[in-house]
């Protein structure tokens, strides 16, 4: 096994990991940084984000408004001090990206332009056409190249973290090209490995969004927080789950059912205005839109197609060819390539699909976990920003705001502690090597990785979908237990060393099953409806008395995860009804009136 020592080890080369790496490099050029990623950083899933990143920009906007949109959007499960920090840092970090070269779309005067986004009261989403995540990621990656202190371990797969004396002291990674193990010892470790959406079947997410590192951290006793909150994006391509950005609706797109009716007005999001209006109709929050789809489906008012299945239409025709090509070029391209549709002349078939995991590795407001020296940022983490439902365009901003914060914090830590005992860590690393290499030696079983994975994603979709009931969730829990057992009988087709993706997916799946359990048990235990967690079995209402709480799932070896509840930090926004459309406006007015 190779040994490498770095002051700060960062796992994940997506937007958050790169931002953290740059922060460490800038805070002290003498700190050695190891940036580990299982794909080349610019392949990370941040690349797929389309719509944009939220940050106060216009004169008629302010931090308070962004704060309230976020907290209300999160159904009051947000850590309000975290949100406050976030909204203030957002414009600074987004400007920083501009200085590094991010090609934000501009106003005619050459300033950064902003667009409306679902659940946001005022236009505050910075965008780079409809490839915002792509441009942010490439800007960060390219910027990171100028720092010689960042040593990248590209295409290195992190199989576990190292822990000693109550501190996280490094990681173990496999170099994919050789199958060789490297122990990367560090004084502090930042995990930035992205979401876990691939635990579900139909998702907008890339193949790398597996959530395995969350599983690894979970096994070290760190809580996975609020895992039951899984966001379904309302406008995805049937079957593939590819996303048509919310910006489609921001630009004025309609959602219509098979009768050509804009059905959202039936679900508390109306009335229809003559212009797109923030927080009304199609610009409502994602959970509401996905839920409306569910009911339309129940009422039999959606399209049915032998190939595409059940879907509704996203109609952009009235926007005109020119505007479509200027503002939504990627959407036009995707509709054309994948569906053979020109959005200027035909409506696009869409349905909800899993898009984002609000839950993640629990951290304090400085991104540190309960395992000292271990930080988590980005979609894999739960710092308390999104609560029960993330607002679109808050997460790209989260990457840079908390990437910077965690980078600074981890740098401080690295300067205040020394390296641990390399020998004993090495022993641990060797045990890890032995454990994961054992998958290759397993013979005689007839289970395939692909089969177990397929069954896992299906049962998660069945039990933890847009709407949930106890019985199907229980079935999911049972199924997961069964899969856990069956996983022991997996036999790999590929037992070689070089580029053995068969083996790496097995390692992934092992962890994913744990994370899936955390999701399912958190869900079955939350006996209320809040944000993205909606039940139809007698718990249709939000229950602030019992469940204005984070759920923390803890790993228990060989048993079911333990679910505990923790308080939510509330500073200035008391829970209120979460309403949109005209009702929302009325509630806003009332709130304002009561404040003065």
């Amino acid at each position: 096994m190779n040994i490498y020592k770095a002051d700060v080890v960062i796992v994940g080369g997506g937007g958050s990991g790169l931002r953290a790496a740059i922060a460490v490099a800038q805070s002290d050029p003498s700190l050695k940084i190891a940036l580990v990623s299982k794909v080349y950083p610019m392949r990370s899933h941040t690349v797929s984000a389309e719509g944009g990143a939220a940050g106060v920009k216009r004169d008629d906007d302010n931090y308070d408004l962004h704060f309230h949109d976020t907290v209300g959007g999160g159904d009051w499960l947000c850590e309000q001090d975290v949100v406050e920090y976030f909204v203030q840092q957002a414009p600074i970090e987004l400007t920083q990206l501009e200085h590094w070269g991010c090609p934000w779309s501009r106003t005619p005067e050459g300033k950064v332009n902003v667009r409306p986004f679902g659940g946001m009261k005022i236009e505050r989403t910075w965008f780079a056409a409809d490839k915002s995540g792509f441009h942010i990621l490439h800007t960060l990656f390219q910027t990171s190249i100028q720092f010689p202190s960042i040593k990248r371990f590209d295409e290195h797969f992190c199989v576990d973290i190292l822990e000693e004396d109550g501190r996280c002291q490094g990681i173990v990674a496999v170099e994919m090209a050789t199958g060789e193990f490297t122990m990367i010892q560090g004084k502090s470790v930042i995990v930035a490995t992205g979401g876990a959406g691939r635990i579900f079947r139909e998702s907008t997410l890339g193949g790398i969004v597996t959530g395995d590192t969350q599983g690894a951290v979970f096994r070290h006793g760190v809580a996975l927080r609020d895992m039951e909150f899984v966001q379904y994006h309302p406008t995805c391509m049937p079957i593939t789950g590819l996303l048509f950005t919310e910006a489609c609706r921001g630009e004025g797109g309609y959602l219509v059912n098979k009768d050509g009716y804009r059905y959202l007005q039936d679900y508390g999001l109306g009335p229809i205005g003559d212009k797109p209006k923030n927080k009304y109709m199609e610009l409502g929050p994602r959970d509401r839109l996905s839920q409306s789809f569910y009911f339309e489906m129940q009422k039999g008012r959606v399209f049915e197609d032998p190939v595409l299945g059940k879907h509704v239409h996203l109609d952009l025709r009235h926007l005109g060819k020119e505007r479509l090509h200027e503002r939504l070029p990627l959407i036009c391209e995707m509709a054309e390539t994948f569906l053979g549709i020109d959005p200027a002349t035909q409506p696009i078939p869409v349905r909800p699909a899993v898009h984002y995991t609000m839950g993640g590795i629990a951290t304090d407001n400085k991104c540190e976990t309960t395992l000292r020296g271990l930080y988590a940022i980005g979609e894999c983490s739960n710092v308390g920003l999104h609560g029960a439902n993330r607002l679109g365009s808050n997460s790209l901003t989260e990457l840079v705001v908390f990437g910077k914060l965690a980078g600074d914090e981890a740098a401080k830590t690295a300067k205040s502690v020394g390296f641990g005992n390399t020998d004993s860590l090495h022993k641990q690393a060797e045990a890890i090597e032995k454990r994961v290499t054992a998958f290759k030696a397993q013979t005689g079983g007839k289970e395939r990785v692909a089969t177990i994975r397929k069954e896992m994603v299906q049962t998660m979709e069945d039990g933890c979908g847009i709407y949930r009931v106890h019985d199907t969730m229980q079935t999911t829990c049972d199924k997961l237990a069964e899969l856990r057992e069956r996983f022991k009988n997996v036999e790999l087709d590929d037992k070689s060393s070089v580029w053995n993706t068969d083996w790496l997916t097995a390692i992934e799946l092992d962890y994913q099953l744990d994370v899936a359990q955390a999701i399912a048990y958190s869900a079955i235990n939350r006996k209320e409806s809040r944000g993205a967690h909606q039940r139809l079995d007698g718990y249709e209402q939000r229950d602030d008395v019992n469940f204005l709480k984070h759920s923390d799932a803890f790993y228990v070896q060989g048993a079911l995860p333990r679910i505990q509840y923790a308080d939510v930090k509330i500073t200035k926004s008391q829970p209120a009804a979460r309403v949109y459309g005209a009702a929302g406006e009325k509630a806003d007015a009332e709130r304002k009136a009561s404040h003065v």
């Binding site: 090209a177 050789t178 199958g179 060789e180 070689s496 060393s497 070089v498």
Partner: protein, 132 residues
């Protein structure tokens, strides 16, 4: 010890593998014709320097059937060369903006071909005028 053993494929016959490359090799090979023509002219120039008899000998040689066929081939090849030269021009020029809009590759190619047509015609007319 690493078990990697990257396999490097041979480039032999690369130009046969794709119609695009076949065309490339053909248009590159027009260079041979351009060279042949330049040498023909150089010989003519040397003969010119050697006096009237030598020059007339060269002129006579140009009238031989072989020379005519040869020049016919040259004409085809060099015309093809000219065509392909303008066809790749869009990739070699910096973007040209007309009223804020980028000039399309098609417009650039057409522009080049028109320029060549005008130049050729101009040359022939000029020669004709001088000679007449």
């Amino acid at each position: 010890m690493s078990k990697r053993k990257p396999y490097v494929r041979s480039m032999d016959g690369w130009w046969k593998k794709n119609p695009f490359f076949v065309e490339y090799v053909i248009h590159e090979s027009t260079a041979l014709f351009v060279l042949a023509y330049a040498v023909t002219l150089l010989v003519g120039l040397i003969r010119l320097g050697q006096g009237e008899a030598a020059w007339n000998g060269w002129l006579a040689a140009l009238q031989s059937p072989g020379a005519l066929v040869f020049h016919l081939a040259l004409l085809v090849a060099i015309a093809y060369h000219a065509y392909t030269w303008f066809k790749i021009m869009p990739i070699t020029l910096p973007p040209i903006r007309v009223g804020g809009e980028k000039l399309s590759p098609c417009a650039i190619i057409t522009g080049g071909l028109v320029a060549a047509a005008v130049a050729s015609l101009g040359l022939i007319v000029l020669v004709w005028r001088i000679a007449a």
